[in-house]
Structures are given as C-alpha cells and as structure tokens.
C-alpha cells in the first residue's frame, strides 16, 4: 500500500481502503486517486476528512462513481470517498411522505421501496436509476420533470453533511415548510462535493400519479421541433414535462434526423384526455404516438439514458421562448465531431426551462483539437452569456473541460462563493479550482 492508503487504513479497516491499480475505475475527470475509501458511517467520513484536512490531501466525495467524469476537473485527487457502503433506508413514513436514506442508496432501490406504498420521488436525473441519492443531490441533477417538480433543491427536506474539516452538520429537517434559520441545504444542492460529503438525505415524496400518459409529436426539422415544443409548453396546462428530442445523425437511418416532442401528463385519465385535445389543437396535428403507464415512463427513462456513451455533454441555456435559436446555434458545434462516428450528436431540451442538452458521441481529435474546441465553445459561451444565457460543459474530455472550464465566470458573486467554500472547508481540500469552487 502507498503511505497515504496505509495511514487511512490505520483509521478504518483494511477492506475499506483500496489503492494502486484498483483506483483507476474511480478516476475523477481522468485524475486517478491515490486511494479510494469506503466509509460505513458519518463518523468514519468525519475521520477521513479531518485527517485529510490535517494532511492537506485533496478529496472528492462520490457515490457509486456515476458522476465522477462530470463537473470541473480537480487539479489532483488524493482520496476518493465512496458512499457505496452507506445505503440504508433509515426512515420511511408513507403517511408523512418523506424518506430518509443514506447517501449511497441507489435511486432504483428508493423507487422500489416507495412504489410499494404508492409514492415516488418525482425526479428523473440523467444517468438513469443506477446513480445514488447523495450524488444526485450533490450535482443537483434533474431531468425533464423539472418542468413541474423542480430540481433536487426543491424536493430535499434535509441532509447530513460532513464538512471538509470533519464537522457533522444536520441540515434542514423532515417537513416541507421549515424556515428555522438560514437554508444552508440550498448551498449543498449542486455543490459538487466541494462543501463536504453528504452522508444522509431526506427527500419529499409524491403520490404515484393516477395515470401516466406521454404524447409524441413529430416535427419536420430540428428548428420546427423547437418551435413546436415552445408552443406546447406555453399551453396553460399542468404538463409534467415537455421535451424536445433530436436523435443523432447516426441513429436516424439516413437523412436529416427528425425531431420528436415528448409531452408527459401525470393527471387523471379524464384530465389527460382534455390535455391531449388542447395539445393536438395547439400543435395543429394529432400525436404520432400515445403511450400509457409503463410505456410512458419508459420513453422518459430513455431520455435519462441519452447521455450514456457520450464523450461530450453540453448544457446550453436561454429563455425558453428562444429555444429555436438555441437549437440553431448547435450548428456551430459541427467542427467538434464527425457525424459518421458513433451516433453523432443528439439534442434534448427541457422546453419549460430553456435548457438544451447537446450530446456528442465522439469528439474529433485532429491536430490542435483542444484549441479548436476551446475557441468554438468560448465563442458560443460568450454569445449565450451576452443574451443572458449560459453554456455548461457537463462532461467531456478533461483536456477540453480544463481548457474552457465547466462553468462560466461568476463575476461579483465569486467572492461570496469563495467565502462559502472556505466556511465549509477551511483547508480547501475539496475545492476544485473552478466554479463551484
């Protein structure tokens, strides 16, 4: 064992620390950690983090490793802490519609337990159900359902966070309405592990909808699809999600990929019939397909899996009404990939929030590819920011993400962000050197 792993296994037990070749599977944006630890309690997490703070070891908290390729690449990683062995559902009160589970609990396990009681966690983050609850909260991941249910920040009621220097903080509570003090939980959601390691999460649950219906509308070209998605999202109906889907060049069977607009309705069957009538009228056409129940859920499960196998994932944003422009802008990315490699470039947009995900299967690597990507993405980011929008490099080859940075500049908020990071992690062992810090 390397000396660092040796020191760690003195504090934990031998089976809880791995080093050497075994840690490669736990690389964070290509940076292989010196040791991976599997703590079994928040006390052990606190032990590892306070030791690391004393030693100045750079740490990254993780779950099962699904999200480690995303976000801002850290300069180096000494210790990766996996929540994998902390996966108990500690408290579930169906009558109170909340569940408390350890951070390493898989989303599909949560789904299984809650569905037995006619309830669900109304979030559909990318990456499917293999991810863990803690990781979902840490990266603030949300999918099409954010149109109606919001993001993890809106559904988390409480969490236990072990700070960079090993303090154990119980944040929030178990009730939806809670204004007792400053809402530090909001800082933790989407902090990418830079404030501490989440060890336990309390989530709000919803009753399983009485019916689940998805309607698929077809557009001629990507821009038409975007206009259609906007129009449907603007109908005054309680729609659970409106998602524009454009398959990659390599999965369209030749010719220009034709876009689909998938609308999900989680209301009673009567209400869904009425919504379908209004939507068809607004679209000027009937849906090409109507999916009910499990099939409806399945089409949106596919949306969750769209990032699988992508080498580069971007998130472009503008106000929702400008989705057609946003889609049009993706033509500027044509230099970054070869449409004949893999499935090419897929698009998926949340029509209610104006977030367009761009997934590229294989990034082309001619001479100077990193500089070219830096220029293309830099120019695109600046033009989006000038219009009040943003470009996030959600995941990609570490060379590109390091060169362009995952997120844009913070401006005057940078000072506050740095102060918050230091308040939770005084030794700076969790800081990633981008934003979030």
């Amino acid at each position: 064992m390397n000396p660092l792993a040796e020191l760690l296994s003195e504090r934990l037990s031998k089976g809880q620390v791995i080093d050497g070749f075994d840690t490669e599977a736990w690389a964070v944006c290509g940076r292989v950690p010196q040791a991976v630890v599997f703590p079994e309690s928040e006390a052990q997490v606190a032990e590892v983090l306070s030791l690391s703070s004393e030693e100045g070891w750079r740490c990254v908290p993780g779950g099962k490793g699904s999200w480690l390729h995303g976000g801002q690449p850290p300069q180096s990683v000494d210790v990766l802490l996996s929540a994998e062995r902390m996966d108990d559902i500690s408290e579930y009160e169906p009558a109170d519609m909340f569940i408390v589970a350890e951070a390493g609990t898989r989303l599909d396990e949560l789904e299984r337990r809650t569905s037995e009681c006619g309830q669900w966690l109304a979030l559909d983050p990318p990456g499917g159900e293999r991810g863990t609850l803690g990781a979902m909260l840490a990266v603030g991941a949300a999918g099409p359902l954010q149109a109606s249910f919001g993001c993890p920040r809106d559904q988390v009621l409480g969490a236990t966070l072990v700070t960079g220097d090993g303090r154990v903080l119980a944040l929030g509570g178990k009730v939806v309405k809670n204004v007792a003090g400053f809402d530090l939980l909001k800082l933790v959601a989407g902090s990418w592990g830079t404030l501490g390691m989440i060890t336990s999460v309390t989530m709000r649950l919803h009753p399983t909808p009485a019916s689940d219906r998805s309607l698929l509308f077809k557009g001629a070209e990507a821009e038409d699809g975007a206009e259609l998605a906007c129009r449907l999202a603007q109908t005054p109906l309680p729609l659970a999600a409106v998602e524009l889907l454009v398959p990659g060049e390599g999965e369209s069977g030749g010719g220009a990929p034709s876009p689909l607009v998938a609308v999900r309705i989680l209301e009673s069957a009567d209400a869904a019939d009425e919504a379908e009538r209004v939507l068809s009228e607004s679209a000027g056409m009937a849906p090409v397909q109507r999916l009910e129940g499990e099939q409806s859920a399945a089409i949106f499960d596919n949306v969750r899996a769209m990032e699988d196998g992508a080498e580069l994932v971007l998130r472009l944003s503008l106000l929702p009404s400008r989705l057609p422009e946003l889609v049009e802008m993706t033509s500027r990315l044509s230099d970054l990939y070869d449409p004949n490699e893999g499935w090419g470039m897929r698009l998926a947009a949340h029509a209610h929030t104006g977030v367009l995900r761009v997934m590229i299967a294989v990034v082309s690597r001619p001479d100077g590819w990193v500089d070219r990507a830096k220029t293309v993405l830099g120019v695109l980011r600046r033009s989006l920011e000038a219009e009040g929008g943003s470009l996030v490099v959600s995941q990609g080859p570490p060379e590109i993400v390091s060169a362009v940075s995952a997120w844009g500049e913070l401006g005057p908020a940078a000072l506050l962000t740095a102060g918050i990071q230091a308040a939770f992690d005084p030794a700076g062992i969790l800081a990633r050197g981008g934003s979030p810090q």
Partner: protein, 476 residues
Amino acid sequence: MENILPEPLTKELGDRLRGVVGDSWVIVDADRLLAYESDGLTAYRRTPRAVVLPRTTDEVSRVLSILSQEGVPVVPRGAGTGLSGGALADGDAVVVGTARMTDMLALDPANRLARVQPGMINVDLTKAAEPFGLYYAPDPSSQSACTLGGNIAENSGGPHCLKYGVTSRYVTGLTVVTYDGKIVEMGGFGRESGGYDLLGVFVGSEGCFGIATEIEVRLLPKPEGVRTLLAIFDRLGDAGSAVTEIMAEGLLPAALEIIDGPTIRAVEASVFAAGFPTDAEAALVVEFDGIEAGLEADVERAVARCREAGAREVRTADSEEERLALWQGRKKAFGAMGQIASDLLVQDATVPRSQLTDVLERISEIGVRHDLTIANVFHAGDGNLHPNLLFDRSDPEEVARVERASTEIMAVCVEAGGTITGEHGVGLDKRRYMSLVHGPDELDAMRRIKAVFDPLGRMNPGKVLPDAPDSAGAAT
C-alpha cells in the same frame, strides 16, 4: 419590552442620505418614526434612529455605502407585516424601507416571468399577471399587504403551497445589495450559473444577508378550474383523519386547511360570521385545482373520505361567490380573533402530518394548564400549525403565561419531529428556540455563512441567530 429612544442621526449623515434619496425620504421625526416601531408582532417595540426610503437599486447601494462607512447597522423593511419581529430596528440601526420600490420592471408572459421591485405588494403581481392568464402562486394570508421583498426575506408560504411549494420555488433571479453597497446578481431564469446557489440561501435569510432590490419570479398559468369543499366535524381528530385519508388516496389538493372549535366560535362571534355551527370542533377546507375535466372526480373522492372520517356536514360551492364564502371562516380567522381578544400571539410551527392530532391535543393541554385560550388555524396538508394565543398585553402575569405556553408548544412540535417555524421566520422572537432544532455546530455554520455576506454583522443585527456562546450576553 422597554422601548429606549435611540440617538438621532447627525445632521451631516442625514444630509448625505438626503442627498441620495431626496429630502422627503429620510424620516427622522419622532412622530413619523412611530409607524416603524414594530411589525406584525406588536409585543416588541423599538424606535429606529431613522428611516430611509430609496427608489432604485443604485440608491440602495449608495445609501448602504454611506451607512456602512459610518458603521451604522441597517434593518431592511417591506410592509412590516412580518410576525417574528424581524423588521425591528434595535439600538442605533437605521431602517431602509422598500415602500417606494413598487415598480413592475418587466412582465414576460411567453416565458411566464416577472421582474419586480421588492416593495411591490404580493397580490399586485397576480393582478398584473391576470390579463395574461397567469398568477403568482405563493399566497401568504397577508398577501394584500405584504411585499414580495418581504416574502423573499421570510421564504413565505401560504395555504396553496401544499401543492405549489413556497417562495423559494418561484424566485428565479435576484439583484442584491450587500451591507458594503456592492451589487450582486444571483440566478436568472434561462441560465445555469456556476458557483453555489446564492439565490437559494438568500431566500429566507430574513434581511441578514443584504437587501433584494430586483426580484425575478416564475408565474404559473391560472388553473382552468377550481373546486372547494368545506367539511364540518364534531371532533378535531376526525378532521385530522380526513386529511390523512385524502392524502393516502393519492390526491394532491391545492389546499387543505383546518380551523378548530375555538376559532369557529371566534369567527361566528365576529362581523366575519361565516355560518359555521358553533358547537362544531373543526372545519376543513379542501380545494382542488387543475384541468376542469378531472376535478369533479377528485372532489367526490374527498367528500367520501370526509364523510367516512365522520364529517357531519359537507358543503360544496357551485359559484365563485359560494367558493369564497367557504373560505371566509379560514381567511378571516385572525381578524375575528382580534375582535374577541385585545392581543393575539400567532404562533407558527410545523410537524410531520401524521403527528398533527397528537400535537394538537398536547397544545390544548398546554392551554388548559396555563389558563389560556388557544385557537388553532392551520395548513393541515403540510403540518404547518398556527396556534393563536389570546391575551391582554396590560396583564403582565398573563403575558408571562403566554411566554411559557409558547415555549412549551415549540418543544412539543420539535419533539414530534417538526420545527419551530414553518413560514413566519425566526426574527427576534424565536432566536431563543433555535437551539431546540439546531446543535452548536449547525448554528456555528449559519454564523459563518452570515459572515460571508455580512462580515461586520451589521445587516439586521440581533436577528435569527442566538448569540454565539463566546459572546454570551453581548447583544440582546
């Protein structure tokens, strides 16, 4: 509480502030300052040194720069309808009010967004959005008087947040001025910013982090249909069971509100009489909204659950007029209690829904033990209780009993897995209960974040956080 008159502003400081906002908008006359000596929690009274009323973000920034240069503490204030003493100016603090910042800055129906100044009244936003078929969802009971800036400070709720969520769900962007006068943009719809969720932690920070000077919020399309029903029960516990059963059905009403027997009798004895039987022990208001086609079925299921739970009468509304009549008893409850008692302490706490009936019983015992009338009005769907303690401020012995009963109620709610405030905030009043729900490490973490926004501790000082252990007795 004793109200000590503060030192007046020096002429030089007054002149500098007048130079920014204009002569009429720096208030220093003792008579006019009286209007600012308390908020909706009238048990606390303090007269501020002065009140400054800026008009724009730039003016707020310049006012705060001047005050911070002089080391003068600042207390932000909206309409002063808060119920936790959060807008009280202690010692040498100056109030910076948003009363003149009432503009609609932008209304964007296509994106269902509005950008407003913080002094805009909550209900005025909905009025402005109505012609476009939109509305602003958070509807605190004081919505016809309270400001959106105040709603941001308190992370306000309201009856309809059972289905639609609280203020933080709807705020998408803020322009904030910190104590040193710096202007910081947070969030923004149509943009995914890096960094932490500053917007999220600012909402509900009770004026301790800065002043929100521009607010961007999401609007919702008005639901096509609304159905309201009212069920009368002979036992409070039965109403609680009806709530549990309705939720267990998988229904998600827009609102689920209960008023208890003492409240019913107060309403009926007042000018707001709503025609409730005065021997009833609970009235439950259930509201559904959404696509018209699905509503009737929901109402029928809810009516059936109410009857099974023992409702002696269930009324439904056939017109908007009748619908408002069903809400009358709930909406006018506070006003009615104001008529039967000289003073009213509106408590606020949340418990897990399944604990409601037990907790209400224990609150009732506390009332009996301290010989106090406690009338309950509550958001049953999300377990947010409002026990109202009726008393007479001129009777110090009764005031002391109210204090003791409040403390016991807080302890009972926390013990049941709940919290000390669901929507009214901590302010001045509930600092002393903070350690019931937070340990020393959590309070310390909050202090550290407060210090990031306000290193000198002069933004709304003495609010939310109890004194740090090492400064015991420093500020009170």
